[in-house]
Subunit: 146 residues, 2 copies
Amino acid sequence: MAAPELTAVVAATHDIWMRTNDLIGQALAGHRLTPATFQALWVIDPDEPPPSMKVMAERLYCNASNLTFITNQLADRGLVERIVDPDNRRSRLLVLTAEGRRVRDELVRTALEKTPLAVLSDDELRQLSTLLHRVMRSDPALAQRS
Amino acid sequence: MAAPELTAVVAATHDIWMRTNDLIGQALAGHRLTPATFQALWVIDPDEPPPSMKVMAERLYCNASNLTFITNQLADRGLVERIVDPDNRRSRLLVLTAEGRRVRDELVRTALEKTPLAVLSDDELRQLSTLLHRVMRSDPALAQRS
DNA sequence: CAGAATACTTCAAGACTTGAAGCAAGGCTA
DNA sequence: TAGCCTTGCTTCAAGTCTTGAAGTATTCTG
């Protein structure tokens, strides 16, 4: 293989992500959520202005109709509400309900406790963060997140 | 948030993975593959002894019936074959066909070219690899891969 | 040898994803 | 400002993915 380190890093990234999902599966199921719906919840930061469906679709790398489905799942569970964007009445903003904020907080906390990445020291986490942010800044689609 | 670095790292891991998937989607579609089926192909190393369905399920964090489905997808496309494990006739070993090896090689190469992680220098990749392998060694389920 | 365990398959149900078609709102231009 | 194009979202149909329960064949164990 031409780039064994790169191969190992790509594989490790995937493995760690899948393992994290595996470890929080029970907690998600307790709220009738799945990796896909949890990820949608994750990317709605309650301290930021509510994202539109369009913005959510970009964050989750999915298309509009997919996001309609995911949003319905969250709305059916009482975790988010759609409101009309007063600045653009075609657009729907996704707002966490009180329950949505509570569940998001709890599950994010669980994910951070259970992820294998939690074994790293503060210093190692900073190193890792530096490297990953360098990667993200290099990619236009990722740069607008970090 | 109690651990902002950890949060950022978990999010970055996921974002980079999803972005990589996004970037190779075209190449996968060219072989009628999806992220799930490509991942299955990825974890069959042609230079190692062929894995059983059971081993594959562990590697992919999925259950046996799920793996039957994924294997059927790959077998229908002529990329893998099931053979009876001579040492345990309950077990089926997954062997890449010649076409399977070719497609795997091509798509792995594409993934390594397109992943945003490819911007890192050799030195940075080594740093990243060191950190991620430390994470993997700390988790029993991950340790047996790296 | 009988019963339990293992490896896989089948089936049914639900969750996810995509693309095509449609609707309402906003933008543009003659 | 009417007509047309674009945007943001929804609906629908089709296909993919995932799970759990039940079933089959094989192996293990007492």
